[in-house]
Amino acid sequence: MGALLKPRYREEASFEEVLAEHPDFPRLVALKIDVQRRGVLYTERAQAAVDPDIHQLRSPYIFGSRDGAIKPLPESLLLRDGSTILVDPTPADQDPYVVDYQDGQFVLLDYGKVLDTVELWPKPTYYDKHTSTGLPMSHIVSARPQRLNVFQSSFCYFWAENEGCKFCDIVNHTKQQREELGVPSRLRPADVKETIAEAIREPGRFTNICLTAGSVTKGHEIFDQEVEFYIELLQAIGENFSTRRFPSQLISSAFNERQLRRLHEETGLSSYTSDLEVLNERLFNWICPGKARLVGYKEWRERLVRAVDIFGRGNVGTGLVGGVETAQPLGFKSEKDALEATLAEAEYLAERGVTTVYIVWVPRPQSVFAGQKAPSLDYYIRLARGLQDLRSKYGLSVDFDDYRRCGNHPDSDLARVA
């Protein structure tokens, strides 16, 4: 007889108990957080109700999933308030939420109890088309309900020296996608331009274009080659628009002023993000060894501040892998200490015009932190509230990274009522 699998979340306070401690926090945003934290499992009934003609199935993504598999399951979910949940399929033994199909609608279940109705992401029309070079357009540009994602290259040069970020599975996942789906490891600007031209034919479907990739450290100065790739790509994309600037977000390495000015002046890019991942220098050095050795925490942070002079307040941000500051053995032992330290650093950035958003840390199976557990729902609620309060305090908007333009940051969902 096999050993009983120990549920991972049943010993915690329940969703309703945690929410009762935060009566001023939106239930749907808390639900989004907890679903991201625990993942989802689609029942057979839910899978049978998926219609590939109208629902978006999983397409190439920069990071892998919790079950480590690439399967034709729904891409993800929409909540009733129009916000997205970016969540991937999760094995049953990890105690995920369950997506079922009951009485003609998809529902979210926790231990058999219906918590809310959800919808599947609608499939964009360009997903059925191919580029003139014969590639499926869904492999070139992937869609969220209102955003286009361009993953220029999923190789990260920090991994070449075994200095990849410890929460990240980007290179392992790239290899898997290339082998199982034939996804190109680097995109050609002409293919991207053609795909985006097709995507934006669909009325009312997209509001933003996000470009991101692994770091490319090569060049005369560090990241010069990465900047060159993005300029080429952004210029090609820009040919699809009648305006010089178009709603867009670049999530990239921390570029110097010269590189940032080139991006701003030579392309139509409208916002710039560079992820510090964890707002603590000691933990940054441990968790992001490549970034720490080649740039350093303080320099990465100051490059963000200098970017505000170029892109403007409200157009520069940094992303956190929220909760990774509690990774063990070197992370904070108490959630209270982790929260205080994170918000103090976020305030330093907010004072200087840089906005901070987080994603919920998912310890992915192909990352160094596989098997660890993310912090509590209570922690993520406090982190979301804390980051949005800082934006309000310093008059920072987060238009380029909100519930619609991104959808992956519980804290910027709160900006909807700010």
Binding site: P26, R27, L28, V29, I54, L78, R80, D81, G82, E119, W121, P122, P145, Q146, E202, P203, G204, R205, R404, R416, V417
Partner: protein, 155 residues
């Protein structure tokens, strides 16, 4: 608790000549009312409203309605002066998908180069006749002594 709207109220909501006002509150209870001619009854029997201004005060208050189950009020005045109030709350906000796209195209066809942020879906919970004659009759029936005496004076 959601109710099924009577057909005459559906007709009033769907009539383009009806004056339609949407009143919401924020987290401090401050009221905010706007004319909202896009209010209509959708195929699901619920009330739909188009959001053309994504960060309007009304839009923020409607997000608050869906997040915290705050009530809202819709006031209708028909071409025949019939007045009806509907109380309810937001059930859903569509920002993509077939319903959104249908309204996106229709709004641009009708209004020109406008954007559509989303489509609110409102569950009606109560319908109240607000016309003066019906309100007066109800008041007199419930509170027959609420009257100035000169109105019933013998001389």
């Amino acid at each position: 608790m959601s109710i099924t709207l009577p057909q005459d109220v559906i007709d009033l909501l769907n009539d383009r000549d009806t004056i339609k006002v949407l009143a919401t509150v924020n987290d401090k209870g401050e009221p905010h009312a706007v004319f909202k001619q896009s209010l209509h009854v959708g195929e699901d029997g619920l009330i739909h409203s188009l959001e053309l201004i994504e960060t309007s005060r009304t839009a923020k208050n409607l997000v608050g309605s869906i997040w915290f189950e705050r009530k809202l009020s819709i006031l209708l005045r028909g071409a025949d002066n019939r007045a009806v109030q509907i109380k309810g709350r937001v059930h859903q906000y569509h920002v993509s998908g077939a319903l959104f796209q249908h309204h996106y195209l229709a709004a641009r066809e009708r209004l020109g180069d406008v954007d559509l942020a989303g489509v609110w879906v409102i569950e009606p919970e109560e319908v109240v006749e607000q016309g003066f004659q019906s309100r007066r009759s109800a008041e007199e029936a419930q509170h027959p002594t609420f009257i100035h005496l000169d109105r019933i004076a013998a001389h």
